[in-house]
Amino acid sequence: MRVAKPTVLLAFLGPTLLLLIVLRIWPATAAFVDSLYAPRSDQISLDNYRFIFSDRVFQQSLMVSAIYSLIVNPLQIAMALMLALLLNTKTAMIGLWRTLVLLPAAVPLSVSAVIWGIGLRPDGPINALLMTMGIDPQRFLTSPDQALWSIILIVSWVGVGYWMTFLLAGLQEIPKSLYEAVRIDGANRWQTFRYVTLPQLRRTLTFVLVANTVANFLVFAPVQILTQGGPRGSTNLIMNEIFTLGFVQGDRSSAAAATVVLVTVVLAVVLIQFRMMQAPEDNAA
């Protein structure tokens, strides 16, 4: 390889690099710098962080986001994995069922929010179904106990099929010979899953776990459209809190500090998950 001519290199790399620096790295840096200056102060300090962390609303938002993450990620991945195992077969019309599970993934989250917002109305079809089954109608999005679960439903309807496709592709890459080998050894279904499928799927699962966790930290449209964080702050996920701080209340300093907190948490979670999913046998193999 010869050293590239600067003009040619600039033509190929320049535009994209400029876009990424100006539109991704610069605003992230700007948020970091802004977060260090309290309003009307030219001294670097942690005042903005002290302020948001002592703010009850922000504390509750962190709590809600943590609870939401701990529920939604395992739930979606477990469902996606079960669906992938179910649909990893060659029966008639399987292609159609796969496509139907994937289709909601094409629906923008704002559209999913609007549709389910109507579906979960007090006089909507979900309550109609519950009543047919002899269950009392529920308040869903207007109940502090059910609103977060409603958001989880809205997000999972588009998410599960999406992550399922990755896991399905991962399952199909597992060599058939491995399954035959353990069958000869007399392994049962659970043992096959535990000692063949799961280890072979580790890389795909890592990718899905990390990407899904990041995506779920950023959920915003359903909250902003349907609940604005309510009722009683029960759905005030971190993105909605940042939006409320920065855009609705115009408190750019607090929004910048909250943004830095979010980005830091995202990067930390990504790192931890990669560590955790690294198996000892990866080194041996």
């Binding site: 019309m93 929010a113 609007v114 579906g119 943004t259 995202v266």
Partner: protein, 277 residues
């Protein structure tokens, strides 16, 4: 695998497929029925709940006579432009990182990776402040620019180009091709799977975006469909659910067609990316 022994499996697969599809079907039915029928067949539930009896295209006609037409056009326009420019620019950057030798290449690659590890929505608000100062609110440029430079697409192209044998490139040099010629006539034609995956990433980013267009393009003239549907105004008779259903159907239809069509590439290429990444 041990599939054939269990006969309930096709049934379970069908049930899951239909369950996921049900809300889409309900929206499509709602788009085709008169406004007063939307909540009419709910108690008790009957076959009419999920089957339109008095089908009408009045909703569609009404929807496309409203501001929504403009919003849908905006979505299509910004998505087409972002995907077209994004593909070519990200491919060029990926090419530079894969085949060119220059000082600081590792650092540039590091910047690319950092740029896609920082989630865009997380920095949307600070970026909005910068764009506001630059006078880019309510412009197509403001809507499109963040969708063009995509670190993940660059990364994907780089990985794919690294797999193309360097003998092909050397043959091109012997034939007297320019760097751009090698890129355009050798690398791009060989990279169909990368184009499709990168194209899908860029497409979904732009089409599904909500927070960024909400901030940067609130004006009716530039509002995109994903934002417009959340802001349907009530008229004297209350919320126009019939129009919301119709709009939801059209916003979802375009990505549904694209994802279904490219389903095979979508799964295989992104899965291998997950493995390598």
């Amino acid at each position: 695998m041990t599939t054939r022994r269990f006969s309930f499996r096709p049934l379970a697969a069908a049930a899951c497929g239909l369950l996921f599809f049900l809300p889409i079907w309900w929206v499509a039915v709602g788009a085709l029925r008169p406004r007063e029928d939307i909540f009419r067949y709910l108690s008790p539930l009957s076959w009419r709940t999920l089957w339109p009896t008095d089908t009408t295209i009045a909703n569609i006609v009404m929807l496309f006579q409203s501001d929504f037409t403009r919003a849908l056009f905006n979505s299509v326009f910004v998505t087409v432009v972002a995907v077209a420019f994004g593909l070519i620019l990200c491919a060029m950057a990926g090419f530079a990182l894969a085949v060119m030798r220059f000082r600081g290449r590792e650092f540039v690659f590091f910047l690319i990776v950092v740029s896609f590890l920082i989630p865009f929505d997380a920095i949307a608000l600070p970026l909005f402040g910068l764009m506001l100062d630059a006078g880019l609110q309510n412009t197509y440029i403001g809507l499109i620019l963040p969708g063009i430079g995509n670190g993940l697409a660059v990364f994907l192209y780089r990985q794919f180009f690294l797999g193309i044998p360097k003998e092909l490139r050397e043959a091109g040099v012997v034939d007297g091709m320019s760097t751009f010629g090698i890129f355009w006539r050798i690398y791009l034609p060989l990279s169909r799977p990368a184009h499709i995956t990168a194209g899908l990433i860029l497409f979904l980013f732009q089409w599904q975006a909500y927070l960024w267009p909400l901030l940067i393009a609130p004006d009716t003239k530039y509002k995109v469909a994903a934002v417009a549907i959340a802001q349907f105004t009530d008229n004297v008779e209350g919320t126009q659910y019939n129009l919301i259903f119709t709009a939801a159907f059209f916003i979802a239809l375009i990505p549904m067609i694209i994802i279904t069509y490219f389903q095979k590439y979508f799964t295989s290429s992104v899965a291998s990316m997950g493995g390598k990444g």
